[in-house]
Assembly symmetry: C2
Homo-oligomer: 402 residues x 2
């Protein structure tokens, strides 16, 4: 069979390799990119679903507007307002089938084959593949502990004139980094100066452990005249409530939302009204703040435990910035003491010792740093984290040649 | 903002015009393409959702496999087996976010810009737009009361060597036509002879009024050696259970399913596991046969009433084949007695009289027949159908010039 040429742009073997790592029994996994199922407010969602099917069964079960189920758009606008986006109205966002679909719609709406898009190095794996399927040429901007390096980013924008810039500014996947407020303001200024769309993907912003992070780039756009029309923002219920609902949203300039809605009409007609009505009832129930408080507390403990264990068990053979939120540690093998620097090789040895993580290379659209790795602390409890990091220590201490 | 060039391939004004027609209060609408909300088995779905969240909350709320939730794939395979597809196994299908997504994935997986795809004239509006967004050049094959004209179709395949052929063989939207068994066999033979993928979209096949239709092209493929590897089949829960779940499925050769799964991973990661688990519990509950029996009976009565009313009120000014299933009448204004032949003009007059339908022109990828129209009998009860068709009669009897 003769497939579309766009499939040649995508390499999936890296992903398949990652998934293969997880099959071994008894393994402790730091490889996932998902929240802990034990955190789901099952009772709250059960009540919400029941209420949705009781109060407005037609709305929950019939075809719905492509833009989204109106009561959910209203709830999501209020949710965004509570996070500092003062001017948002329900019609200023569209509901997407998870924020993955928001990325897909941005690709479909914006990217012609050969267009350039700037992403962080490293960035979310599925974003790389998603944009490449639409023919994007990806340019990478470097990231440090304060997020994307804005001076470099501006040079790249000036040089490449990208269709848009894609950032995960808050507790990014995989970097875990938090873009400083100062840099957020610089991003807004360069959006206006270079008339360049900035896509802010924000699935992790609510998962902070201590002080809240700076307001989102979208929220800060009110302080930079003219910037709001150059900002698109992707939100998601997946990391804070449930990925299984597949409820995300896209905020952007009206013309972009109109085109994305047209594309969505032919992608899946609309997001499950059943899931949307359930999410709307859940938000309306007022249980969200308690749910958020709970997940923040649990993940904060786990992040603390993982950081301490990594320092204890791997010492100066690994370097990382302690994350202030999100789900991930992003780390680099230093090679200190003649230990391994290759994270791919380390991953293989770790599997043999009964612990899994994801090597960092696939998260780079270009020029991978082979010494990097991503560790999720979300799904293992503190005891498992300590046991798993102990196994990592043994794996790194093992013989240099297999 | 500078959008992707692929958006230039799509004309949405036709669709927007259709939707505008429906705003007027008191209107009787034959314009929709959706099932009657009153047919939804709300209690059954409520129980199914509750069971899904009680028995396996993790599975229903966590991220899931892109291919689909395993218990649903098992149920869907059994459902297809019950419809004569003997050799289907759970891994022989992937779950899609409604069958609209199956179309989108076929487009993404198969169509390079400039590729030719053959569709019926007329065919489903959103298919035309969906494939054009991927750059397809659409070639149209004529349809009569027995479905696509297979002699013409084979000529077109030989001439254009299309990437694939898209058919809605059973009670098609909008044609309502049923492809005869003889022609189904011919389609299978030409698939093998010309090594051409045939996509069978089958959302309406379960909605038959009297005798069941012939087996699907997929089911019949077991009788034509070598044909199975050239058949893709799209199924849907939308017309028989609930569109709001957004649960469809795609069956096809393993290589095609693998590529479509990769594309789906970057489109929406997976279909809502919450909706999938609910659908799986519903199918497992055994309520589906009774639900199907009910909708068949109700829609059969409405189709009967609409056919009789059209004959009585519009006489020889309209011609149509009485549908044997599905949701639609496809009709043609004859101009008899000097009456209107332009269905667009008729639609405007009908709205003035308080009744809406969809003119047929937008359902043609090329060379629209302006005298055609589509009438849905699904959402109005018999009394409303008679009242609405009465209004159609008055609209057609009105003065020739506004």
């Amino acid at each position: 069979m003769n497939f579309a040429t766009r499939l040649n742009n995508v390499e999936t073997s890296a992903i398949r390799e990652l998934f293969k790592l997880l099959g071994k029994p008894g393994i402790i996994s730091f490889a996932g990119g998902f929240p802990d199922s034990a955190m789901f407010d099952v009772e709250g969602l059960k009540e919400a679903a029941n209420k949705a099917l009781t109060e407005e069964p037609g709305g929950a079960l019939q075809y719905g507007a492509t833009e989204g189920y109106e009561p959910l758009r209203t709830q999501l606008a209020a949710f965004m307002q509570s996070k500092g986006v003062k001017d948002i109205e329900p019609q200023g966002l569209i509901v997407t089938t998870g924020s993955q679909q928001a990325l897909d719609l941005l690709g479909k709406t914006m990217i012609s084959p050969g267009d350039k898009v700037i992403v962080e190095a490293p960035t979310f794996l599925a974003t790389i593949q998603c944009f490449r399927l639409y023919g994007a040429e990806l340019i990478t901007a470097p990231v440090d502990a304060n997020g994307v390096q804005t001076d470099k980013l501006e040079q790249l924008i000036a040089e490449h004139k990208p269709k848009f810039v894609y950032l995960i500014p808050t507790f990014g996947n995989p970097s875990g980094a938090m873009l400083s407020r100062e840099r957020r303001m610089k991003v807004l200024e360069m959006a206006v100066k270079h008339q360049t769309l900035i896509v802010e993907d924000d699935p992790y912003g609510d998962l902070y452990f201590g002080e809240p992070p700076p307001p989102s780039i979208l929220a800060l756009s009110s302080q930079v005249p003219g910037s709001r029309e150059w900002i698109a923002h992707c939100g998601s219920m997946s990391k804070v409530l449930s990925p299984g609902l597949r409820v995300g949203w896209l905020i952007g300039p009206p013309e972009l939302l109109a085109k994305a809605t047209m594309c969505k009409q032919f992608s899946d007609a609309h997001t499950s009204t059943f899931a949307q009505a359930t999410a709307a009832q859940y938000l309306k129930s007022g249980r969200m703040p308690a749910t958020l408080a709970k997940v923040r507390k649990v993940y904060a403990e786990r992040a603390q435990a993982m950081g301490a264990a990594l320092k204890k068990e791997l010492g100066d053979a690994i370097e990382f910035t302690q994350p202030q939120g999100g789900l991930f540690f992003w780390a680099r093998l230093t090679g200190a003491g003649g230990k391994l620097k290759d994270a791919g090789e380390f991953a293989k040895r770790a599997i043999e010792k009964g612990v899994a993580f994801v090597p960092g290379a696939p998260f780079y659209a270009n020029d991978p740093d082979l010494s990097t790795l991503r560790l999720s602390f979300a799904t293992a409890d503190v005891a498992k984290i300590e046991e798993g990091v102990g196994r990592l220590g043994k794996a790194l201490a093992g013989p240099q040649v297999e």
